[in-house]
């Protein structure tokens, strides 16, 4: 046990700490604030405190715990609301902790709750790290697979079926003449990636239901993407949409240094939202980590790593997991703050030089893998991180470092957001390196996806070029062809890309439906071009009753969609042809 020697902000120096280890978790002062040793020098330890240090005094006690920062893994995670250190906020709430007192403790996994364990191996079976030995129906949507923890391999000597808590033994494994008890809970150091057999190419589309993602800038299961944008451009809403509707089995939402009310908003919405496939509550596949901006700064880093550790754990069961982190900039700022207190040499804009490598140690934990242990299975972790650049200026270090790591960029545009074009994802600036790898996936739904996508993007590109001419000569001075391009580009923007998160139908679009929407607009383009080539005018087109029907496509309920769009296309084929008295 040591004593506090010095306190400056979240950094504490303690003396009498001989025998401690770097990264060991310590408890500080009478309140037992959680901290982590970041360096040792003879009997002095430099500690970063994960809780507010205001009011501490020199001479107060510092106690080592002998363990490094770990996440608790086992039944009880799904549906939980944790803080950055994986304290259960719901458990605290149940204890009446409406406000978060420093030093307050609560277990991540409830110790008294019994779970129904059903073995999937039998006595005499050989097991090794990662082998699934049984299942627990954790929620209506998730079957929790109990796996052999690290460092154990041998023969099952005993395995029981029944109701167990996470700390009661469910099996005995004989390893080199020794008998080891297996409990359902395991612990994992949060900064250490969990092992897998091998990485697999990312070829499956992560269906998000957001048209601009799925159709234009697809994300693959196991991929990594960033959403940078100034305040109010839609980072949070986009990420909330992702955890609501993504076709993944587990979603993890990490609120890192952001708003409490937003957290409450997302938590409340999950009390009602139902999974369209099963009709179960969506919360039964979600995990929430909330380390809001007024909660301890140092714990922001932990929240990100706890989140990714939980994600890998479910990946290892063979699940597709999505993790969103809002916002990685707040984590980088925490690094800067600690670095400053440690009097480290600052790099660009005061951020520590290792900021880039820390960010990549996080994003690199995304991927699609073949899991270890038997039976053979595949799992994936997809990461989507928000970035909050000061002044919405993407040239700043966090954005730039992130762009070097991720394979998809959803660039949010302040001017689109100001006009309330949502999602304000710029179609000119965004990109996805997964376009080629998910092509085959898409081709099963829409063989012509790649071409249609490319031609739609080309029209939007053309619009941007024409826009400069319009500013000089006005829209009416353009030739009819170009006016049509502007008209169709507008349809693509307003009637396809724009998508309200709050409209009951529009909030989620299947890839099939997205394909029909774009195809209809592109068909309009072709017919309109023919019309104009044979002497028709843009004014005639503007008057056509087809146009408002295209804009109302979004509102059509899913069950009527195919039929109504078929009618619309038919009317378009017969109406948008040159005839006396203009178009019909």
């Amino acid at each position: 046990m040591g004593k506090i020697w010095r306190i400056t902000g979240p950094v504490i120096v303690a003396e009498g700490m001989r025998g401690s280890q770097v990264n060991e978790v310590v408890e500080i002062g009478s309140e037992g604030l959680v901290g982590e040793i970041i360096s040792l020098d003879s009997d002095r330890a430099v500690i970063q405190a994960h809780e507010d240090t205001l009011g501490l005094q020199a001479g107060e006690e510092v106690r080592g715990t002998g363990s490094i920062l770990t996440a608790e893994l086992g039944p009880g995670i799904v549906g939980a609301i944790y803080d950055g250190l994986q304290k259960s906020l719901t458990a605290l709430m149940a204890n009446g902790d409406v406000f978060l007192r420093r030093g307050v403790k609560s277990f991540a996994l409830p110790r008294d709750k019994k779970w129904q364990f059903t073995p999937t191996v039998k006595v005499g079976d050989k097991v090794s790290e990662g082998t699934i030995i049984g299942t627990v129906p954790e929620t209506g949507l998730i079957v929790h697979k109990i796996m052999i923890p690290q460092g154990i391999s041998g023969t099952i000597k005993k395995i029981s079926e029944g109701q167990f808590t996470v700390v009661e033994p469910v099996a005995l494994v004989e390893q080199d003449g020794e008998t080891k008890e297996i409990i359902m809970m395991q612990k994992w150091p949060i900064k250490k990636p969990r092992p897998y057999k091998k990485r697999l190419p990312t070829t499956r589309l992560l269906v998000t239901g957001m048209r601009i993602l799925d159709y234009m800038f697809p994300l693959a299961l196991g991929g990594k993407a960033a959403i940078p944008g100034g305040f109010g451009t839609g980072k949070t809403v986009t990420q909330q949409q992702l955890v609501r509707w993504s076709q993944t089995q587990i979603n993890i939402y990490v609120g890192c240094g952001e708003r409490g009310n937003e957290m409450a908003d997302v938590l409340y919405s999950f009390k009602e939202l139902k999974d369209p496939n099963s009709g179960r509550l969506l919360a039964e596949k979600e995990v929430f980590l909330a380390n809001t901006s007024n909660m301890p700064v140092v714990a922001r880093e932990a929240s990100i790593f706890v989140g990714i550790t939980l994600a890998e754990y479910f990946r290892d069961m063979g699940y597709d997991v999505l993790l969103v982190a809002d916002s990685t900039s707040r984590w980088a700022e925490a690094m800067r703050e600690i670095g400053g207190r440690l009097e480290e040499m600052p790099g660009e804009e005061g951020f520590p030089a290792y900021m880039g490598s820390r960010l990549s140690s996080f994003y690199e934990r995304a991927g699609q893998v073949e899991c270890i242990g038997s039976p053979d299975r595949m799992g994936s972790v997809t990461i989507v991180g928000a970035v909050s650049p000061p002044g919405a200026d993407f040239s700043e270090p966090v954005t730039q470092n992130t762009l070097r790591i991720v394979d998809a960029l959803y660039a949010l545009d302040t001017s689109l957001a100001n006009k309330r074009h949502f999602p304000a994802i710029s179609w000119l600036q965004s990109y996805s390196l997964y376009v080629d790898s998910v092509k085959e996936w898409w081709s099963k739904i829409a063989p012509d996806w790649a071409e249609i996508r490319a031609s739609a993007l080309r029209i939007l590109q053309l619009e941007a070029e024409l826009e400069e001419i319009v500013r000089l000569v006005g829209p009416e001075a353009l030739p009819e062809r170009d006016k049509l391009t502007l008209m169709v580009a507008r349809m693509l923007r307003e009637d396809f890309l724009m998508q309200s998160a709050y409209h009951p139908v529009d909030t989620y679009t299947t890839p099939q439906r997205a394909q029909l929407m774009v195809k209809t607009i592109m068909r309009f383009n072709t017919l309109a071009q023919q019309l104009i080539e044979s002497g028709g005018t843009i004014n005639e087109l503007r008057q056509s009753p087809i146009v408002p029907r295209i804009s109302r496509m979004k509102d059509i309920p899913n069950e009527d969609f195919e039929q109504r769009v078929k009618e619309l296309t038919n009317d378009m084929e017969t109406g948008l042809i040159p005839q006396k008295g203009g178009v019909r």
Binding site: V13, G55, G59, R259, G340, R420, R471
Partner: protein
């Protein structure tokens, strides 16, 4: 419980430099506590323990170390961080930035002493803000609605009418159909005496002072108290909200002065600055203030915060508005351009945003068509503003007839929807109806952001009016 006195004193001062004073380690000094530095001549300056170790403590002296001598000066401390004495009797009272009464009244007989930094609300205990506050101002109620428990700042510039807008909100704000206890907590930070007086008078005139508490730090008061003033105000607000079930609206003006004070103190500590000299922890520091807004499930009251800040050079990307916007649930932006055009309140609706709006509007809250009217108004005004920009180069004649309609819609939006009197209180229905009146001029097929049933229900009346 009693107010702790200054209990201990340390005399061994080793170094005085810049604004820092290094004293020999004094057991019992708490990290972050406010201490008194007593000079040989008896003068007392406040300071804060910013680095505490067994061997030494570093005190940042507010007002600097000039005239400090190492031999005769001493540091007196309480062994505790700043606390506010509270009881229900704080209502109607005016305090300074250290929580001392400055209205000539007696000291508050404290029922409790609260840590001015508060404690974070457990995110799992929060209730999402959802009760619409009708301010009577169309550009706010219609397009950027405020709800209870929200933190919604006003971003303004020097010489712009943010005080009038705030006063109008204070006068008119009401929750529809509610008659609960509503109180105002006012924090003035580094403002001119006139500005502080404007609000106090205003509260007095409307009879609201009896249901208000004020904490005043004027420009001539100590800089360190700029840091404590908003914290005191929020501590009072939390006490009234969570202990007495009151709905509190906290007005903080001018938070730019708070940020400047933070920068000044940081520079004196030789900390590595982040953007434009502001400390890297400014985001977290401001979040510690604004995150105190909210609602808690199972509790009656609420804390709503409306800070006012002036944007240096009218620049919204300046670190002060920028970091604020990253923390608050939107912003109401006051525009110099609209002000020049004679529009009051000159609120730039493109730059403004209320992130909590969607929960507070709609059927049973405001009106079913609210969200649709809001979206369509934005779309139409955006289109009109864009055309206005183009037409300054090519001339309005060169536009198509359709585009001309949008051009005039943008003008009417400003002169009919945005413009209103300082004493004009519009109901939200009146506000939405102005929207419909403008829609009546647009091609009906363009109203694609509005549900067809609402068009059928609300539009005909205004179409008919137009014909007459």
């Amino acid at each position: 419980m009693s107010s702790p006195l200054y209990v201990k004193e340390g005399k061994a001062i080793n170094q005085a430099k810049g604004s820092l004073l290094i004293a020999k380690g004094i057991p019992g000094v708490q990290y972050g506590e406010i201490v008194d530095v007593k000079l040989t001549n008896g003068e007392i300056r406040q300071g804060q323990a910013i680095d505490v170790s067994k061997d030494a403590i570093v005190v940042q002296v507010f007002g600097g170390v000039s005239e400090v001598d190492l031999a005769g000066c001493s540091v007196r401390y309480k062994g505790e961080t700043l606390k506010l004495p509270v009881s229900i009797d704080i209502l109607g009272r005016i305090f300074n930035g250290m929580g001392k009464p400055i209205d000539g009244g007696p000291e508050v007989v404290a029922e409790d002493y609260l840590n001015v930094n508060g404690e974070p609300i457990n995110p799992a205990a929060r209730m999402p803000p959802a009760e619409f506050i009708e301010t009577g101002i169309s550009s706010i109620d219609g397009l950027n609605a405020l709800v209870r428990g929200q933190k919604l700042p006003i971003f303004s510039g020097s010489g712009l009418p943010h005080n009038q807008i705030t006063a109008q909100i204070l006068k008119q704000a009401a929750v529809r159909g509610a008659s609960e206890k509503f109180v105002i907590v006012f924090g003035a930070i580094g403002v001119s005496y006139n500005d502080a007086d404007f609000f106090i008078k205003n509260l007095g005139e409307t009879g609201a002072m009896a249901r208000a508490v004020a904490f005043i730090n004027t420009a001539s008061d100590p800089v360190i108290e700029r840091i404590s003033t908003p914290k005191l105000a929020l501590t009072a607000a939390e006490y009234l909200a969570w202990n007495h079930g009151m709905h509190t609206l906290v007005i903080l003006t001018d938070m730019t002065n708070y940020c400047e004070a933070l920068r000044e103190l940081s520079a004196m500590r030789d900390e590595i600055p982040s953007r434009r000299g502001y400390p890297g922890y400014m985001y977290t520091d401001l979040a510690g203030i604004y995150e105190r807004a909210g609602r808690i499930s199972g509790r009656e009251g609420s804390v709503t915060i409306m800070p006012i800040l002036t944007m240096p050079d009218d620049d919204i990307t300046h670190p002060i508005p920028d970091l604020t916007g990253y923390i608050t649930e939107g912003q109401i932006v006051v525009s110099r351009e609209l002000q020049r055009k004679g529009i009051y309140p000159p609120i730039d609706v493109f730059l403004s945003l209320s992130r909590m709006m969607k929960e507070g509007i709609g059927e049973n809250k405001t009106r079913e068509d609210h969200n649709n009217v809001f979206m369509q108004l934005y779309a139409a005004y955006a289109e009109g503003s864009y055309l206005r920009e183009i037409s300054t180069i090519i001339g309005a004649e060169a536009l198509s007839d359709r585009d001309k309609i949008y051009l005039s819609a943008a003008d009417r939006f400003e002169s009919e929807f945005l413009l209103q009197g300082e004493d004009e209180r519009r109901t939200v229905e009146e506000t939405l109806d102005i929207g419909w009146k403008l829609f009546a001029d647009l091609p009906e097929e363009d109203l694609k952001l509005i549900r067809e049933e609402y068009i059928k229900k609300y539009l005909p009346k205004y179409k008919d009016e137009k014909k007459v």
